[in-house]
Symmetry: C2
Subunit: 155 residues, 2 copies
């Protein structure tokens, strides 16, 4: 079970769009969120789906177990969710040797744009692109599980 | 996602033991239990592990999605559990054309013995063996998720 080290920022401009590939449509929801773990179902595009369990420990590193499930089963699992289905378009954006993921939210969180980057290590000195603003890595209200119950309308 | 139709009974005698094969040791725990679903991690023997999501709808039929995960990941997922780890030895016992599963609980539920049978349909007229007693299919306190938080000491 690899530890995932991620940092997350609000996106402030459109500077990333010129470097982005085609987006993948993501629909996801949470089946549960406890004091120890979250259980997520995610459908990527039309042909891939995943069940993901992440530990709820605070800090940058989180334990994560992800397993692929048939899309038809994932669709049925969505019915067992808590909160709303989150919908977003995810763009891969290469920058300074890393690949950022820019999520453009739709539906109830329409207008919100968040950039995430996975780091090779906790001490890695990441170079920030000029199209990211405030860091929200530790801000609970930007957790996807939170956005499913308390949506944020972006600017 | 197949609907699972099961009936569950307390075991009252040792009459099943002569027909049982070798048991499989099962360790399992629940990562979450919501109003809509339960999320279970199960390790069977030393070499197989599964993540299982069952709908919480009342009645005999339950929706179920099960996916195999590496045992090492399952061991780590056990740490994210709610309640205790349930330990039991599971015996397969053929009877009247069906295969019953007899679970002999250990640990905090030591002494409890439960028999379950999966039916081909909701209206299937099952022939009960004489070593089963009270039916507990709908009794919440015999749900495994419940036994993880409120153990029952068998007779």
């Amino acid at each position: 079970m690899p530890a995932e080290i991620e940092r997350k920022f609000l996106v402030t401009g459109r500077g990333w769009t010129g470097h982005a590939g085609l987006p993948v449509r993501i629909r996801q929801a949470y089946l549960a969120q406890t004091d120890k773990a979250s259980v997520r179902v995610r459908i990527k595009g039309d042909d891939a789906a995943f069940l993901t369990i992440k530990s709820a420990v605070p800090g940058l590193s989180r334990l994560e177990v992800e397993t692929e499930v048939p899309v038809a089963e994932a669709e049925e699992l969505l019915e067992l969710r808590q909160g709303a289905v989150i919908e977003k378009q995810r763009y891969a954006v290469p920058y300074a040797g890393l690949v950022w993921e820019v999520d453009v939210f739709e539906g109830e969180n329409a207008g919100l744009v968040i950039a995430e980057v996975e780091l090779p290590g906790e001490d890695f000195a990441v170079t920030l692109p000029d199209w990211v603003g405030e860091e929200v890595t530790h801000e609970r209200r930007y957790y996807n599980a939170q956005l499913a119950t308390d949506p944020i309308r972006g600017a």
